[in-house]
Symmetry: C2
Subunit: 242 residues, 2 copies
Amino acid sequence: MFTPLFYVYLLNDTQDIFYRFKMLSYTEENYLKIIFSLSYPNSLEITTNDIAKKLEINPASVSDMLKKLNQKKLIDYAKYQGVRLTNEGKKIAIEIVRKHRLWETFLVDKLNFSWDEVHDVAEQLEHIQSSLLIERLYKFLDCPKFDPHGEPIPDEHGEFPVTENLICLNSCKNQQKIQVKSITDDSSALLQYLSKISVSIGVSIEICDKNSYDNSIDVIINENKNVTLSKEISEKIYGVLL
Amino acid sequence: MFTPLFYVYLLNDTQDIFYRFKMLSYTEENYLKIIFSLSYPNSLEITTNDIAKKLEINPASVSDMLKKLNQKKLIDYAKYQGVRLTNEGKKIAIEIVRKHRLWETFLVDKLNFSWDEVHDVAEQLEHIQSSLLIERLYKFLDCPKFDPHGEPIPDEHGEFPVTENLICLNSCKNQQKIQVKSITDDSSALLQYLSKISVSIGVSIEICDKNSYDNSIDVIINENKNVTLSKEISEKIYGVLL
DNA sequence: ATAAATTTTTAGACAAATCTAAATTATAAT
DNA sequence: ATTATAATTTAGATTTGTCTAAAAATTTAT
């Protein structure tokens, strides 16, 4: 049903160095990325349904692909048991995350995209195959450690920068105040909304009141703007206590 | 056998403008680009075999795709009669050429790629779908008119810059001398060779002798280097008479 | 502990883009 | 004008990634 795992030696970047290269399709890369992001940072076990929902496809399709990725030793998967990335799979996933965040940085820093315009384009750019390209881009951007949403960018060895201990706005108590450090979702719908209410990396948010009915919170943004944030929003905002 | 032509209205670039968008696959885009480049600049009729050779695939596969592109009204094609781009097909092909050449320019000017390293990466980048991206890139590069190989870059309306009257090195007579203005093939094999013999945009080449047996020519590069160039090489080099 | 509900997998089908082999059409050569 | 050669197309198969419907396994609830 599936072709066996195979490695090929490919001439990459039209450079004269050959290197071991696991041939992955655009789609396979996407699965690895999704599994990684759903399990980050705790390497949780992910379910077929989680992936199907995220990719907006049928769970049956996911089952097929999981079988294939398992054969390629990129995930650990047994029927009905959930999925976890292998070290090899994780390495590839981190590489894709790295590319995604570097491209987002490029788009914002060099091409003047706003932070809510970058996601869809970066989703495409992250699949461009060229290690030379990504290393040159990394240098061109001055080896950035965080992307425009404050998300950490892994270095060339796949290591994430050490971050201050971030806490979720959602988990703050009344009267606590944080400085926003990262938004853990780069969808344009969320980011456009945050822009509208003047939330960006660096602003302060003070918790005034918590509504236990819907878990929304009343906050003051940058000492001057009162807003109510839904649970869905507040759990995407991370920062350091002020 | 093939799905009917259809147009969709898509939200592009996460911007709030909808626009008419002909859904094309990566592969379909490549066919249009190949047909364009094989027929440029005279809109020649192209054969199934020409395309098969260029794409290194079986002519039978090309036949299938031509039928499909014809149905989509991107080419004019009748069985056994050859192919020609329609205006719509040409517009799309030029857009891809534009993207390819802008990305090549980016790689060389901003990321310090050498001219022989850009082709394979640009082949991937040219298929990124985002008009916002390409217009921003265009501005970022200061609206370049020529790519690193001297090839003209169409503007945002698909217009090619007017060029001096270029003549092919291949068609020069003995003792004539040209200044190199463009190389009409960006394969790394050719460009690496040209680098090795010190041919680049701007250098002078003087024809010393023509060998009618294999159509090779003996030339002097930049007044100091004697080299013999094969027909295959000399027909890729264009310039202005000095 | 069993039944009900949910999740996951299998089976079979489909579209896109390719292939090989065979048939057809066009072109060139005598 | 007929034949030989070359180019092109058709027919049928394959791979990848998806689907729907049905079957199987797991989880939840009583």
